[in-house]
């Protein structure tokens, strides 16, 4: 009896072994994908926010002046609004963090670094907001265009769809504030590079007219957790101010504390 049943058992055993291994491989794949989701939706945020805080602290820029009126609490000086040609910074190196991005609509504690370049792994996944190198620098005639993640890697543009017409977007370089105002948004396909043209909407290859306006363009993925399309926000330049003359009223009114930011970062470091 034993003799007869042994080959059959062995055959069944081999079949069972194969099924068992396949089953375990499928379970492993399931766990792998589950962990990947955890990594993508949670861990990339944790890592990127740590880096963003660090690079903002590393900028070590001077703070805008505070005033201490008699018998009053000290507060930031409201910057005068200059509407002539703003100063333009020298071209930053690739991957250099050259600006800070403030959007009062996204909260008083919202500030993110802007780095040169739009490489995904090196800039957007690590340093935060990336500047399209072929577009102009803040304040210049043309279209200052930046890309940012909407859902992961610190999600600097998480609230991009909350922006409304007239909302201020404040860009700070080391010496200058540039205040833009949101004008419109659109949803486009990933190939529609005309959104970052010197004049938004100008098709590639078309002759560029003499530039008279200063635009800002934000690009983010759309819909959320997808890369099928792009969510685009356009804005136009409002005014500029030197950092050593004060802080834009838009930031003060929103409760953004530039001073506190520096202290906070120093603490984290």
């Amino acid at each position: 009896m034993r003799h007869a049943s042994r080959p059959a058992a062995r055959r069944g055993g081999a079949f069972g072994a194969v099924v068992g291994v396949i089953g375990e491989l499928l379970i492993t794949a399931g766990v792998f994908l589950g962990l990947f989701v955890v990594w993508q939706l949670w861990w990339t945020d944790v890592q990127a926010e740590r880096i963003h805080t660090q690079v903002l602290a590393d900028l070590d820029w001077t703070e805008p002046p505070l005033e201490v009126p008699d018998n009053e609490l000290e507060g930031p000086v409201v910057a005068p609004e200059y509407r002539d040609d703003p100063p333009i910074m020298d071209a930053p190196d690739y991957a250099e963090v050259f600006a800070q991005f403030y959007v009062p609509r996204w909260g008083a504690d919202y500030v993110e670094p802007v780095a040169e370049g739009i490489d995904k792994a090196e800039i957007l996944d690590r340093l935060g907001i990336g500047h399209y190198p072929d577009t102009v620098l803040p304040g210049d005639l043309g279209n200052f265009s930046v890309a940012g993640h909407r859902t992961t890697y610190g999600r600097p543009f998480h609230g991009v769809a909350d922006l409304q017409e007239g909302d201020p977007i404040v860009v700070r370089t080391e010496d200058t504030w540039y205040v833009y105002r949101v004008t419109e948004h659109e949803i486009v396909w990933p190939q529609q590079v005309e959104v970052v043209s010197p004049v938004p909407g100008l098709m590639p290859g078309e002759p560029v007219p003499e530039l008279t306006e200063r635009f800002i363009t934000l690009t983010a993925c759309h819909p959320m957790y997808s890369a099928a399309q792009r969510y685009i926000v356009h804005g136009e330049f409002d005014y500029w101010a030197p950092v050593d003359e004060g802080t834009p009223a838009e930031l003060i009114d929103a409760g953004v504390e530039i001073q506190a930011l520096a202290d906070h970062d120093a603490g984290v470091r």
């Binding site: 072994a17 068992g20 291994v21 375990e24 491989l25 792998f32 962990l35 990947f36 990594w39 993508q40 861990w43 739009i118 995904k120 792994a121 957007l124 996944d125 990336g130 399209y132 890309a147 940012g148 993640h149 909407r150 859902t151 992961t152 890697y153 543009f157 486009v188 990933p190 190939q191 529609q192 590079v193 959104v195 970052v196 590639p204 690009t219 983010a220 993925c221 957790y225 997808s226 890369a227 792009r230 685009i232």
Partner: protein, 56 residues
Amino acid sequence: MMYGLLWHALPGPVWLRVLLVLILFVAAVWVCFEWVFPWFSEYVPINDNTVEAHAP
């Protein structure tokens, strides 16, 4: 099967085997988080946010 073989290959009493399995699992997760997932995410483009002339 594979995990059964692993279990039998581990030395020591049950509590030590459980501990070793946990350590191996944590190590595998760490390797995934540090290297495997960043590489894998390049092929899962759910995060692209730039406009480019050629589709990525």
